[in-house]
């Protein structure tokens, strides 16, 4: 038996792919998380009201989603409803995170694969990159920075944000700051659209070259956005079955009835399935479960995507295209929301803590994220983090098998396999820190 190990880069965290080959046949393909964060262990015993500062540190890439999920879990537990203004500001915050994350995944993590460069900064040096008439790297970082600026505006700082607190948000968004942000978005939106079009084109050129969009067997899909309202500060989860119809909806409180979550022996990250069925979360899941975004440019892309690739679409490299659509949506939507009054009105309500069990749900860039806390005598007795990347683990494994089988034959192992492994994993944009919470 031959074992090949592929270390991975341009993803969040430490992971690798290990493929076992026996008699020219692929026997096993594992995606391994290499470290264990362990937050669910060491938050036990801490004062419940302090957990909202600690758990964003699970992951610096996804800290916004963890912070909002954590606050929502305690609000559920304490029986508080935050004021509408706070919910709007949290939505702006999560849109900022979506922009930052999708821009990072599109341009820093996956665009180099389109032209066989090792990083965004080397794209200009490849033949495919030279033909582009503008500086992809500088534009990409500018678009990404809109996301981090939005998080700073709505969250106080762009990593481990602090403005979302139990009861609401600590302060609102002044008109003049909102106006400055609107101006930036108006200025850069055409550039973002250009980048997404270029990315789309580069992707189809790559697929012409390699001959596949990757694993395209149907799976279940999981998202917590609504079909006609793409709200990230979400309330319930929705499931699409493998025949392509929406077959279940459930509240975060019911997740154990629907999701089977298990540890694995080959990785520090576990797996989850929908009652035993392989499922996918993240951009492609949301796009498959969305009828309309309600913003013109994103809706035009949604239509174009559906006409080109069908609905639902299943091939894994579509995840990347869908991230581009969501990037445009988040920019348009953030501008719309900043045009409303986010300055005046009650931003935060008083609260009194109590013991119990609480659930917090948000749609993180990688899919639905749930925090579940049990509080006893004011202290965390048990904390569970239901992580979007974990929902994709079985799908990643299957897609790796599909890729490995394509490139392993009696003639040998194709050099393309190493690139394919990177493309497959990056399509899912996994977050290893989160997955090993």
């Amino acid at each position: 038996m031959t074992t090949i190990t592929y270390p991975l880069s341009r993803i969040e965290g430490h992971a690798r792919v290990v493929i076992d080959i026996h008699d020219d046949e692929v026997f096993r393909a594992d995606f391994q998380a290499m470290e264990m964060r362990g937050f669910s262990y060491y938050v036990q015993g801490i004062p419940a009201e302090q957990i909202t500062v600690i758990v964003p540190r699970i992951c610096g890439v996804c800290s916004t989603a963890h912070q909002v999920a954590s606050v929502k879990a305690l609000e559920d537990l304490f029986g508080i409803t935050p004021p509408p203004l706070a919910c709007e500001i949290r939505e702006v915050l999560l849109l900022g995170q979506l922009i930052q994350n999708q821009a990072t995944s599109l341009f820093i993590f996956t665009m180099p694969d389109r032209v066989n460069a090792s990083s965004l900064f080397e794209i200009a040096e490849t033949p495919e990159g030279k033909s582009r008439q503008f500086s992809l790297a500088q534009m990409s970082l500018k678009i990404r920075k809109i996301g981090t600026d939005l998080i700073s505006l709505a969250g106080g700082q762009f990593i481990h944000p602090i403005k979302t607190v139990i009861g609401g948000v600590t302060s609102s968004i002044p008109r003049e700051k909102a106006d400055a942000m609107i101006k930036t978005i108006e200025e850069l939106l055409p550039m973002a659209v250009d980048l997404v079009d270029n990315y789309w084109q580069m992707s189809t050129e790559m697929v012409d070259r390699i001959g596949t969009w990757g694993d395209d067997e149907p799976t279940y899909y999981l998202a917590s956005t609504e079909a006609d309202s793409f709200r990230l500060n979400s309330k319930r989860l929705r499931v699409m079955c493998d025949e392509g119809r929406e077959c279940h909806t459930f509240a975060p409180q019911e997740y154990e009835n629907y999701l089977n979550i298990e540890e694995s022996d080959y990785s520090y990250a576990g797996t989850s399935s929908f009652q035993g069925h392989i499922m996918r979360a993240n951009s492609l899941a949301r796009i498959n479960l969305t009828n309309s975004f309600g913003t013109p440019k994103a809706d035009a892309y949604l239509k174009r995507f559906g006409e080109a690739y069908g609905k639902p679409a299943h091939a894994i490299l579509f995840f990347d295209l869908c991230r581009g659509i969501e990037l445009v949506y988040a920019l348009e939507k953030a501008k719309q929301m900043l045009e409303t009054d986010l300055q005046h009105g009650e931003a935060m309500v008083r609260y009194a803590p109590r013991d119990g069990i609480g659930f917090g749900l948000v749609e993180a860039p990688r899919g639905p994220l749930i925090h579940r806390y049990e509080v006893e005598n004011g202290l965390i007795k048990k904390a569970d983090f239901i992580i979007p990347t974990v929902h994709n683990m079985l799908a990643i494994r299957r897609a790796l098998m599909v890729a490995a089988k394509r490139y392993v034959s009696p003639e040998g192992i194709s050099n393309e396999l190493s690139r394919a492994v990177g493309r497959v994993v990056r399509a899912f944009d996994p977050c290893i820190a989160c997955a090993t919470k």
Partner: protein
Amino acid sequence: METPKDLPKFAVLQLSGCSGCEVSLLNSNEWISNFNLVYMPLVVSTHKLPEDIEVLLVSGGVRTDEDLHNLHKGASRSKKLIAVGTCALSGGVAQIPEGHISRESYLDSSHRLRLPSMLPRAYPIDKFVHVDLYLPGCPPTPELFITALKEAENARIASIVCQECGRKKLTDMRPTSISGPRSGTPDPEICLINQGYLCLGTSTRGGCGALCTRPGHACVGCRGPANPYLNKDPEFVLDNLRRVFTRMTDIPIEEINAALASPWLSLFLGQFTDYTQDQSLPQQTKEKMI
């Protein structure tokens, strides 16, 4: 014009952490034009740490045997090593204290075949290698990264967070309990301590721009203690906080003491002392600090 190849070789080694430091660094666009980035797996597909690195940033704590191996390799191949963020400085948020209720179950569950082994603790990197410069923060802001990379020698850093906060300290507003966070929207102009928040800004190193306190969240001390309390027992900084709260509030001392025993504080204020309490390994004095 200089090509990237002429610029000093720059590498980022990420041990066990959250990637927040790297994400912050990505926002300091200037670093791209001032260095030749030769290694940073989050951004560049290179798996080999090159020889002759000019500046090596290390983020994350030493949590696995692989972290330890990579740290030694990185230190031996670089001229200047900068420790970045709470985890590299102290082991970080992932540190489970001796005697914590979940320590045994965590260690029992953290074994896998064919994967790196978890060490019994998360260690600060200066337990194992020489560090030339420390950059504390969770994470350090992009501006602090630029300072550390470009002008560490002449850096002028605010001594405490209050200097950059701008909230007014009042003498006639004396809270009687630490109930600020439960009391609705904080006043935007007045010191959070006056409003009953457990804010650590008076004793925490500045330079962050008071990013948390200005919008109305108490400082949790992520930049660590201010200069007078560096390399001292955490009791020194706790004593100072006790003095501040006794002077500015009418909160009973028992409530202050209980609050000062909070995990927030142990996460960050302990980061400049021997946080791991492991006397078998040497500890550097953390002197050069941004």
